[in-house]
Symmetry: none
Subunit: 201 residues, 2 copies
DNA sequence: TACACGCGTACGTGATAACGTACGCAACCA
DNA sequence: TGGTTGCGTACGTTATCACGTACGCGTGTA
């Protein structure tokens, strides 16, 4: 990672700290008193006050009740304006995983403090002859796009076999069980994009 | 479109309950032990175990530390989704655009049924020597990830010049003014992912 | 003035989140 | 086979979350 502009890391804690002001803003925007929201959410008014002032960090359970009281989803409640980012990853500084004849490189780590409810992983994968990739089933709602840069591979999705030649691409829901096999004579190179959080409206 | 089906929606309080299995899936997907993640997140391994098994509801504070340990934002960690699709695009059936020394191919057409306000485009771009790409500034909240497959290019983001060599990748907010230039001697090939509709706060 | 009525917050109490330690269980080597 | 290493989890203690109650404050009404 070479450059990251304009916003501090905002690693972990910062999110929790900023929930308070945001909650207060949301509540006041809906013209609700603490007791109003307490009624709607099932969370006591003093507790709401403490959360708003950043005196305590609510549990996920309480936070989602608060969100429900505001007619928001939990991630909507926790979403913060997280600014702009530029992250450059040189080829030799990539995070690399090795797995049974495969070399998998993470091209685009999630941006720190990323603002959206969508995350995108871009991966380069080298598949040696005979390699059998057995990746984890990605989180529900994930979508994966893969491009065959060199060689050919077979992609098994939910038991179904799909042949992919050089240059072919495929897009599929990555929460299905799937894996790549390279049964050809030459090594293959893939590029994959995993996009998570594509919730259906 | 090869397959399509759906799973029941998960709304309201259920979010908190389902964090456990989701956390476990994410941790195992990253091939981390409880102690590994404890180290990365600053949350104790037994606590992680309890959260994964749904025995306790973590505070927002702890949850965001966990998210940070997984290189995720908090809202990413807490998301639950549904749906499944598979689309295969052979190399010779791609939609292609030409623009001033560039060949741009759309690798992944938007999937039907996908959330209306989010679109993800995966593009392969060939940049001839001297090419100067001048793409539109994407809509606010867009994010772009580009990978240099061959050659080298220069990426100008908001007036700032970034040199990218073969294999380098970059992720940036695409609502900033930006363009690619290929001032090298050889042609270059890029792969870009543009995620639009990542609405801010 | 006096007396409601609404607001947000300090206080004291149980409940429980979160910690450090330690256990039982496999896999791997000497 | 005994020692080591790593895994996930049960245990007991401490920190703190979350509750109900009660207080001080400002505003409007009599």
């Amino acid at each position: 990672m070479v450059a990251a502009s304009t916003t501090p890391p905002a690693r972990g804690e910062g999110v929790a700290d900023a929930v308070g002001p945001r909650l207060r803003a949301l509540r006041e925007a809906m013209d609700l008193s603490l007791r109003d929201l307490a009624e709607r959410s099932g969370v006591s008014a003093p507790m709401l006050s403490q959360v708003e002032r950043g005196e305590t960090s609510p549990t996920i359970s309480v936070a989602s009740r608060i969100a429900a009281g505001l007619d928001l989803s939990l991630s909507q409640l926790l979403r913060l304006d997280e600014g702009r980012h530029v992250v450059i990853t040189p080829a030799d500084q990539r995070r690399t995983r090795r797995r049974r004849g495969h070399v998998v490189e993470e091209l685009s780590p999630p941006l720190p403090g990323q603002r959206a409810d969508v995350s995108i992983h871009t991966l380069a994968a080298g598949a040696a002859t005979g390699a059998h990739d057995d990746p984890p089933v990605h989180e529900p709602g994930s979508r994966e796009t893969a491009v065959v840069l060199e060689g050919g591979v077979e992609l098994f999705i939910d038991g179904e076999r799909n042949k992919l030649g050089e240059g072919d691409s495929v897009t599929f829901d990555a929460d299905l069980p799937h894996h790549f096999e390279n049964n050809g004579k030459a090594d293959a190179r893939l590029l994959a994009v995993v996009a998570a959080g594509l919730r259906r409206g």
